[in-house]
């Protein structure tokens, strides 16, 4: 039986062999971690996981990073974790598409199913994501789930089999890990909406009351299983939409123009914008450089073969599904053209609609195109014509060669070491010799500093000096480390890091003023103290220009004892800010002290506040939930919580009689969250909490129960099927 099983799926195993080779040949170099663009690899998840779960992402990335937490717990190194991720992605995409082909085209020859599943796993799009930084974020994992989601979706709409429902909802639960960027949930919803409409029109799914019942069940199940991230997202999205509406940073027309794709590139799964950074435009093989234009041409082959399926005889069912897939591809193609003729007017209207405006990025729509093309390829290979040996050999030969050449870097190696987008402009396409890299070898002193942070269990934070901004907001430039991206502290430590090149206080990048020689530098430490920044990395590995500009300020602050050395090495000096300069995490003052966004006024205001500030003891209930005893002495005081200003932080006064009064927010305080305490006649308790986290608990309960329901349903239907099989055998005997 075992032998039969192996023989039956030998095509599948051979395909798997190709991918295992791709994973082995692309092993990430030991001792390195991934930092690039806006992405960083979390290497200390034991400490970082609670912040991830309860922090900004409010549950959205917990499922994804739980896998990496597990890898860390069993001792897998950070570099090996990258290889694991590549493996899970490629093999996951392969299995997912293979399952889709078995579900929908069960009669298709398994060798064709294997070849197309390999194409789905290793193509120009997956090369794009693994040579960019995006491949190493949680939301691209959606790519893995698309085929199996669509496969089971078609099955639950067309057949009444309980196990299909169980599997569909199980995959829906797993796929929810992709929605750390909710725009992907929007694009997935749009894809399913169009798919359903076209399936109905083409008659693949009959239009009946059963259809409506099934759709309602799909929607309810989907919402329940995703409630754990949907609920906390609602208030964040509301605040985010208001922020985007008021923002002048995003110019929609410009964003659409930059991410618009030409038809020729959509057909080839290429990105028009920034194409030069990615394979095949970024061609890393000088000895076979003549192949570059050929690879560009070969990128047309999968689509042309897929279109070839329209010209040959097909069964009625396949033909209908073929029109559905071509129809969705066309509609997505129109959206991907964005600001291009002739759809620019229509698209600029569509992309201004709320929710749809989240789909500005190229990959949010392009992530589905490999699936449409792969499905059309399956249909091409399932035609009767391909059963003839001659045509099978020709098509197989052409497709096989294309498969290998288009995905050559997967099989030749060097995805991030030679082919990274960051090396595209570099003469030396080698991560070790290039000026910048996404694979970073973190020097030992950075790891040694962790002991200091681990010993400090307060809410204090880390930051850096001098101001050495990277290529975009939130990025730092550390040339000696080859980093142009997030600060390594984000990747290494559980303690929070405040990025100088980001807007921590309103729209003020205060660090731009650090080198001003006309002001005494005391204001820097005053401001750091106000924001509870206790540890400061002074980077000797920063840009030389930044170091030179800040050197007088550094000497001044050190001589005055405002920066106290804790560690020194060739990479950095770790300073500590003396305790008396640090503000508490929770404190009060008689009147609200506002901060003028002007370095000349900072010290004066901070000293005023420091004089009046009274630290309050608090009880930490959970990661973002605290209680403070409110005695009558706190009447009419201003209560501060030293967290980045966010209206979703809420404070409520709970009195002895159980009455709850929300405290009114003091909006003029921009450096923390502040509320006005009313006059108190009796003692009570102030409950401070981050509102989305309350919804997170509710959502987790809902999704947890729904998931257990899915598992229970799966076990029940499995047992029922076995019983039926037994009865059938008994009856036939």
């Amino acid at each position: 039986m075992e032998e039969n099983f192996l023989k039956r799926y030998q095509g599948f195993y051979i395909g798997l062999g190709f991918l295992v080779w791709a994973i082995l040949v692309n092993r990430f170099p030991g001792g390195h971690i991934f930092i690039g663009g806006d992405v960083y690899q979390l290497t200390n998840l034991q400490d970082q996981f609670p912040a991830l779960h309860f922090g900004w992402f409010s549950g959205r990335v917990s499922l994804f990073y739980a896998f990496f937490l597990l890898l860390q717990k069993i001792g897998i190194s950070p570099a090996a974790q990258l290889s694991w991720y590549l493996g899970v992605f490629l093999i996951g995409a392969y299995i997912s598409f293979w399952l889709f082909s078995r579900l929908i085209f069960s009669k298709l020859n398994e060798w064709w199913a294997m070849a197309v599943a390999i194409f789905y796993a290793t193509n120009v799009y997956t090369l794009y994501i693994f040579t960019a930084s995006w491949g190493f974020t949680s939301y691209q994992i959606l790519y893995v789930f698309i085929p199996v989601l669509v496969g089971f979706y078609i099955k639950v709409l067309t057949e009444s089999k309980a196990s299909h429902w169980g599997w569909f909802f199980f995959v829906v639960s797993l796929a929810s890990m992709s929605f750390s960027n909710p725009a992907f949930a929007v694009s997935l919803g749009l894809m399913f909406l169009l798919l359903t409409a076209l399936l109905l029109w083409a008659g693949v799914v009959p239009f009946s009351s059963i259809f409506f019942r099934r759709i309602i069940l799909v929607c309810i199940g989907g919402v329940l299983l995703n409630a754990y991230w949907l609920l906390p997202l609602l208030p964040q999205a509301r605040a985010g939409v208001a922020e985007i509406s008021a923002s002048t940073d995003i110019v929609l027309g410009e964003a659409l123009r930059k991410t618009s794709n030409s038809v020729m590139d959509t057909v080839r799964l290429l990105q028009t914008h920034e194409q030069g950074k990615y394979y095949p435009a970024n061609f890393p093989y000088p000895s076979i450089a003549f192949l570059k234009p050929i690879v560009f041409l070969m990128a047309f082959v999968p689509f042309l073969l897929a279109m070839g399926g329209l010209l040959i005889r097909q069964s009625k069912e396949t033909r209908r599904l073929q029109w559905v897939m071509v129809g969705i591809w066309l509609l997505f193609g129109i959206l991907m053209m964005k600001a291009r003729f002739p759809f620019e007017t229509m698209n600029s209207f569509l992309f201004q609609l709320p929710v749809l405006n989240a789909l500005r990025g190229w990959d949010k729509l392009a992530i589905y195109t490999p699936f449409f093309v792969s499905t059309l390829l399956l249909m091409f290979f399932s035609s009767d014509l391909l059963k003839e040996r001659k045509w099978a050999l020709i098509s197989g030969g052409v497709f096989g060669c294309t498969l290998l050449i288009l995905a050559l870097p997967f099989y030749a190696g060097g995805l991030q070491t030679d082919l990274s987008y960051i090396l595209a402009q570099s003469k030396k396409k080698d991560y070790e010799q290039a000026r910048q890299s996404t694979l970073i070898r973190i020097p030992d002193p950075y790891y040694a500093a962790q002991g200091i942070f681990d010993a400090d269990r307060t809410e204090s934070r880390i930051s850096m000096l001098p101001y050495s901004p990277g290529s975009s907001i939130g990025r730092v430039d550390l040339p000696k480390l080859k980093i142009n991206g997030p600060h390594p502290a984000n990747a290494l430590y559980g303690k929070r890091y405040i990025e100088l090149s980001d807007y921590y206080i309103a729209k003020w990048i205060f660090a731009k003023e650090f080198s001003r020689s006309d002001i005494q530098p005391d204001w820097i430490v005053d401001l750091f103290g106000l924001l509870e920044i206790k540890y400061v990395f002074y980077h000797h590995d920063a840009k030389q220009k930044a170091l030179d500009a800040f050197e007088p300020q550094r000497q001044y602050l050190e001589e005055r004892g405002l920066l106290v050395r804790q560690m020194q090495n060739e990479w950095f000096t770790l300073y500590e800010i003396p305790k008396q300069w640090l503000f508490p995490y929770v404190y009060t003052s008689p009147t609200p002290i506002t901060l003028e966004l002007n370095p000349e006024k900072v010290s004066e205001r901070v000293q005023e506040l420091r004089k009046d500030a009274v630290s309050l003891s608090y009880e930490k209930k959970s990661f973002k939930e605290f209680t403070v005893t409110a005695d009558v002495m706190l009447s009419n005081q201003v209560l501060y919580l030293n967290e980045r200003m966010d209206p979703l932080w809420r404070a409520e006064l709970v009195q002895e009689d159980g009455s709850v009064t929300p405290l009114s927010r003091v909006d003029t305080v921009l450096y923390a969250n502040a509320w006005k305490i009313p006059s108190l006649s009796k003692d009570g308790v102030i409950h401070i909490h981050y509102f989305p986290n309350q919804l997170l608990w509710v959502g987790e309960w809902i999704s947890g129960v729904a998931f257990l329901g899915v598992i229970g349903w799966g076990v029940y239907s499995l047992r029922r099927n076995r019983l039926k099989e037994k009865q059938y055998v008994n009856c036939s005997e």
């Binding site: 029109w201 083409a202 038809v263 020729m264 041409l297 047309f300 070839g308 066309l330």
Partner: protein, 102 residues
């Protein structure tokens, strides 16, 4: 909708003239206007899906051929036209499916 032998009536002439005017109004170039008229023709005369699919195939196959000979701009233009033809093909196919299911 008509099928089979094409015999132009006055109403056809009016429809195609309006199609041409439509092109002028939106300042389409000649190939785009011709494609629009082709779309009208494909719908009005129920041009077979197979024939449109053949045309689509030819147009799509010409893109890499043009690129091969260095006509990049022309290839991009043809890619857009091939997209239009594919839209016509899918619309025609969907109409046919709709008619058959009724």
């Amino acid at each position: 909708m008509r099928q089979g032998k094409v015999r132009l009536s006055w109403s056809d002439v009016v429809i195609f003239a309006l199609g041409g005017l439509f092109g002028l109004m939106f300042r389409w170039n000649l190939p785009e206007t011709v494609l629009f008229l082709f779309f009208l023709w494909a719908i009005r005369y129920s041009l077979s899906v197979k024939k449109i699919a053949m045309i689509t195939g030819v147009v799509f196959f010409s893109i890499p051929a043009l690129l091969l000979f260095g006509f990049e701009k022309r290839a991009e233009e043809i890619a857009l036209y091939s997209y239009y033809v594919l839209v016509i093909l899918v619309v025609r196919a969907m109409i046919e499916i709709g008619n058959n299911s009724r």
